[in-house]
C-alpha cells in the first residue's frame, strides 16, 4: 500500500502541547510540512512568539529563537540581516503582533524584511486566559470585556491586519486564510507555500493571517468554535489574497 500521509519528524514525537481543537497544532503542521517540502529543515530559524505558541520550542525540532512579547519581527530582522540566506519563519498571535508588537510588525513589513510571517488570529489572548485581543470581535466576550467588546465604550474596533499591512511598500504578499475546515486547511497550506517561496526568491515580506479557534477561552466545544470561525469571524475578516507579487488586490467585501 502506498503511504499518503505520515508524521512529520520536524515535530518531536510527543503529544501536541495545545488544547484539543486549537488551531495552533494544525498550523504548526502546515508550516513544518512546507519547510520539509522545500527541504529547508537545516536552514530554518523559527521565531517563537510570546503566547500559547511559545510552546512551539518544545515541539519543533528546528533552530528556534524566542524573543520578548511582540518583539519577534525586530529579532527576526536581526537574524535575517545577519544570515540573509536562512529561512526565517515569524509566528505570532494577535496580542503579540497586533497589540504589543504593532510597531515592530509594521516596520519589519515596511522595510520589506525578507521573512515569512504566520499570524494566528484567534481573537483572544489564549495564553493568559482569555483577555480581549485587538482582534476580538465586536460583541464577543472576554475576561476583560465581560459584557462583550463595545467600541462605543472605548474598547476600540477589531483590527484587520492584512488590510492594514497591504498598503506598505515592503509587503509582497498578504493573505488571510482559515483552518476551520478541510478545504480551508488546504488553502492555508498553499498560502504558506507562497510565503516561503517568496522568501526563497528574496521577494520581501509575506504575511499569512490565519483565523484559528481557541475553544478553551471562547468557552466552546471544538466543533462550536469552528462554527464561530465560519459564521462570525469570516464575516468580519474576509478570506483571500490582499496583496500578491507586490500588487494590492482591491476588494469590496467589507
Amino acid at each position: 500500500m502506498k503511504k499518503v500521509y505520515e508524521r512529520n519528524n520536524i515535530a518531536f514525537d510527543m503529544p501536541s502541547p495545545y488544547c484539543p481543537g486549537c488551531g495552533h497544532g494544525v498550523i504548526h503542521r502546515l508550516v513544518i510540512d512546507a519547510i520539509k517540502e522545500n527541504r529547508q529543515e537545516d536552514n530554518t530559524i523559527f521565531m517563537a512568539p510570546v503566547g500559547c505558541s511559545i510552546l512551539s520550542y518544545t515541539y519543533l525540532d528546528l533552530d528556534v529563537c524566542q524573543p520578548a512579547h511582540g518583539r519577534t519581527p525586530a529579532a527576526a530582522t536581526g537574524i535575517k540581516r545577519a544570515l540573509p540566506d536562512s529561512l526565517v519563519i515569524l509566528y505570532q498571535g494577535d496580542g503579540d503582533l497586533a497589540a504589543i508588537g504593532t510597531a515592530e510588525i509594521i516596520h519589519a513589513a515596511n522595510r520589506g524584511e525578507n521573512i515569512t510571517a504566520i499570524f494566528v488570529n484567534n481573537a483572544i489572548y489564549g495564553m493568559t486566559g482569555g483577555q480581549m485581543a485587538p482582534t476580538t470581535l465586536v460583541g464577543q466576550t472576554a475576561t476583560t470585556c465581560p459584557y462583550g467588546r463595545n467600541p462605543k465604550d472605548g474598547q476600540g474596533y477589531p483590527i484587520r491586519v492584512c488590510e492594514l499591512l497591504q498598503s506598505l511598500g515592503g509587503v509582497t504578499y498578504a493573505a488571510r486564510t482559515s483552518v476551520h475546515s478541510a478545504p480551508n486547511v488546504l488553502k492555508t497550506k498553499k498560502a504558506i507555500q507562497t510565503g516561503i517561496e517568496n522568501q526563497m526568491a528574496k521577494k520581501g515580506f509575506s504575511i499569512i493571517e490565519i483565523l484559528s479557534a481557541c475553544p478553551v477561552n471562547w468557552g466552546m466545544t471544538p466543533e462550536k468554535a469552528n462554527q464561530f470561525v465560519a459564521n462570525e469571524m469570516i464575516d468580519y475578516y474576509p478570506l483571500g489574497d490582499f496583496k500578491k507579487d507586490g500588487k494590492i488586490i482591491q476588494r469590496s467585501d467589507h
Partner: protein
Amino acid sequence: MGEKQLMKGNEAIAEAAIRAGMTCYFGYPITPQNEIPAYMAKHLPKRGGTFIQAESEIAAINMVYGAACTGARAMTSSSSPGISLKQEGISYLVGARLPAVIVNIARGGPGLGNIAPSQADYFQAVKGGGHGDYHMVVYTPETVQEAADLTMKAFDVADEYRNPVLILGDAILGQMMEPLIFKEPSGRKFDKSSWILGNRKGRKSHLINSLSLSEGVVEQWNWELKKKFDLMAGKETMVEEYMTEDADVIFVAYGTSARICRSVVNQARKQGIRTGLIRPITVWPFPSETIAGRAKKTKHFFVVEMSLGQMIEDVRLAVLGNATIHFHGRPGGGVPAEPDIMKQLKEILQS
C-alpha cells in the same frame, strides 16, 4: 600602531566597534549620541556590515538580540530615555545568554530631561534597570582614547561571558574631540558553534530562549548565571588609582567626573594638599576592594558625581564605616566646577 587621529568620542566608539568585528548595528536617533548611528550608516555597509535605523530603541535592542543569535557581533547605542526603553531587551539578552554591546551616552533626566551630560543612569546601569537577577560589565571611559579601547574590549568580554556589556559615557565624552590612536583589536576567537542559530546541517537543533515553566529550571539557570557573575566580578574589575598612596583625602569618581577630579588633584598637589583619586573604570564590577584597602589608612573619601548621588552608595558599602564620606553632586545636566570642588576639599581638610 595606527596613526594619531582627532575624533569625537561617539565616532571613536563607532570606529572601534567596527574594527572589533562588529557587523550588525541597530539604533534610533537621540541626542547626544547621534554621531554613532550616522557613522555606522556611512561606514558599516561599505565594510560588510548591516546598519538599520530601527523604529524605536525597543526594536533596535531586539534586532541586536536576533543578530546575536547567529553569532554576529552586534551593538546598539542610545542616550538615557532610549536606554530606559532597552531595559526589557537587556534583561532578555542576559536571560538568553547572548553577547551584545550597548552604549549609553547619558543625558540629564528624569523624563526627557535635557541633552546635557549626566551620570544619573548609574543605578539603572549597575543595579539592573531591567527585571530579574542580573548584572553586566559596565565600562565608564574617561577619555576618547579609553572609549575606543574599552569598546574593543567590550566585544571580547561580551563574547567570553555570553552576556551584554554596557559602555556608560555622557554627553561630554560623546561630543568632545580628542586625539587617539586605535589599538589593534585582540583578535581573540570565540567558538560559538554550540549555541548559535542557522545552518543546522550535521548538528542538533539549537534554542535561544529565556523561559521555562518546568519546576526549578529557572532557579537552576539563575545559579549558573551567578557563577558567571562571580567570575566576572573576580576577573573584570578595572580601576585606576591616581596619587592615592599618601592622600589625606581620596576622590572617588568615574568618567567625566573623574576627569574633573584629576584636575583638582593636580591643582591641590601644587598647593601642597595631599589628595588622590580612585577612578572605577568598571562600575560593575565595582572596585570595592581597592576602596576598602585605602579606607584602612585614609580618613576622608570624597565622591563626585553628576547626579544626586548614586555611586556613593557603593562607596559607602566598600568603606564600611572606616572613613568619612563626603559628596559633591550636580544633577540634571549640571557639571561640577573645579573651584567648587576645591573649596569643599579645603573645608573637609579643616574639619
